[in-house]
């Protein structure tokens, strides 16, 4: 049994609810015990770092101090929160005298996708697969912050990463080569310049389609939400019909490992993934 502190982040309480549910589900199956930080607060997200750097560092550091007090390594599912935490970690490690915080940058911070792609976890996942995802062609979509900047993420092949591809192969799916693995979806511009998000997301959907992918897989709440919930609008604006399910990697892990709640998680998507899975014989 592995014991980890857990920082869900705000979107997992709402738009990315199925990410939280499926992450908890697979952690349980893999005997990873999550201890949610008590009284966690928002990481500050884009709005803090666009407004004031010190505010951004301290909002993130407050949560890291809570985690450090708990003494366990920290698991973070939302890559945007993870990125803010890693930036704060680096800043406080390099200039501790500048900051009013008890946090000393001493605990390990894991991004959920990276955590499950470590060799030991991949092996454990492989042993639990009961429904291999045979015939499911997936485009692994890493987005921006899970790989960039590499000084923060530690990802070496940040232009053409393959760790999620390895996870998908472990589940029995077929990850496809495609050129848009790390292109931006427009992220937090969705509320203010939705036109930009539609255009960037359209390009991603089109490229995944060109690669003959059945679906996209991501570990980013903003990527999933932009691509899943805006697909109908994108289809109307660009005059091509898109019907491409956008999975969280944890949902496909749960599916392959036979978790009982997969239908409930997938039922929260706006672009229906259930039809595809039943066509592939992966779900009744």
């Amino acid at each position: 049994m592995k014991e980890l502190s857990y920082y869900p982040g705000c979107s997992l309480e709402g738009t990315a609810r199925e990410y939280g549910e499926s992450l908890r589900g697979v952690c349980e199956m893999l005997e990873v015990n999550l201890h949610e930080l008590e009284d966690w607060t928002c990481c500050g997200a884009s709005s803090a770092h666009c407004t004031d750097e010190a505010l951004a560092i301290e909002l993130a550091a407050r949560n890291l101090a809570l985690a450090e007090k708990g003494g366990r390594e920290l698991l973070v599912p939302c890559v945007a929160c993870y990125s803010r935490f890693k930036v704060a970690e680096e800043e406080i490690r390099e200039r501790p005298e500048k900051w009013e915080t008890s946090y000393q940058a001493k605990i390990l911070i894991h991004y959920a996708l990276d955590f499950f792609c470590e060799d030991s976890l991949l092996e454990a996942v492989g042993e639990k697969v009961v429904v291999p995802l045979s015939g499911l062609k997936v485009a692994c979509y890493y987005g921006c912050l899970s790989v960039r900047p590499p000084g923060i993420t530690g990802v070496k092949s940040y232009e053409d990463p393959d760790h999620m591809d390895r996870l998908m192969s472990t589940l029995g799916a077929e990850p496809l080569p495609w050129s848009y693995k790390t292109d931006c979806c427009g992220a937090s511009l969705v509320m203010t310049r939705t036109d930009i998000v539609r255009r960037l997301s359209h390009r991603l959907l089109e490229m995944a389609k060109e690669a003959e992918a059945d679906c996209l897989v991501t570990g980013c709440t903003m990527c999933q939400s932009n691509l899943d919930t805006r697909q109908e609008e994108i289809s109307k604006e660009f005059g091509h019909r898109y019907d491409i399910p956008i999975f969280y990697f944890t949902e496909l892990m749960g599916l392959a490992m036979g978790h009982r709640d997969v239908k409930k998680w997938l039922g929260r998507h706006l672009t229906d993934p259930l039809r595809l899975l039943s066509e592939k014989g992966l779900m009744k």
Binding site: S11, G14, T41, S47, L55, R148, P149, S188, L189, R193
Partner: protein
């Protein structure tokens, strides 16, 4: 950045063709705030070539760097570009001179918020301000509350209303904010660092 010339106090010059008046201290300020060596830029334009939102910008990222070097403060701070940048870091990782351009964009936004210059993108700074207010009062982002506050400031109530309803039906919208107990700490952080109001 000691060799950065010209020094503060040097008189600006009028740039022909509507470029504006130069502010010789501007490059130094941006370099100091970002910790980046702006003078290393040799205009290869790789940042702009890879930028996914360049099509929506009025000044390309490489041009922003050049304009900062020239001290074209007003022109840069009143651009759409600084707000359109999505902080995807593609420019930063591809720069052959290791200039973290995304970080410079952050610094330009910070300076713009304190400058009194009207932002070219009206809604983006409003969104950030509403977002931070939400953290200040509730500790976490309650998405529904955030959207409501944002819409009440931008007066665009119908946008995404149908999508919002679909998401409610899917259980993706949390109706009430979570309770939280870190209020005093959060208020302390904001009172120390809040700017851009």
């Amino acid at each position: 950045m000691d060799d950065m010339k010209p020094e503060t106090g040097v008189k600006g010059i009028e740039i022909e063709g509507g470029g504006g008046v130069t502010d010789p201290s501007f490059a130094k300020l941006v370099a100091q705030e970002s910790g980046e060596n702006l003078l290393a830029c040799y205009q290869c334009q790789k940042c702009s070539a890879g930028c996914p939102v360049a099509y929506a910008m009025d000044i390309l990222p490489n041009q922003v760097i050049r304009m900062v070097q020239f001290g074209l403060r007003e022109k840069v701070l009143s651009s759409h570009t600084i707000w359109i940048c999505a902080s995807c870091y593609t420019c930063s990782v591809r720069c052959p001179n290791d200039i973290d351009i995304a970080k410079i964009m952050d610094v330009l936004r910070h300076i713009a918020l304190g400058s009194g210059i009207k932002p070219a993108e009206r809604d983006i700074p409003i969104f950030h301000s509403v977002f931070l207010d939400s953290i200040k009062s509730k500790g976490r982002i309650h998405e529904l509350g955030l959207i409501w506050q944002y819409k009440s400031k931008t007066r665009d109530f119908m946008k995404d209303a149908a999508l919002g309803w679909k998401m409610v039906k899917k259980g993706k919208i949390k109706l009430f904010p979570s309770k939280f107990g870190g209020g005093r700490e959060i208020k302390g952080i904001f009172s120390r660092h809040e700017k851009g109001k």
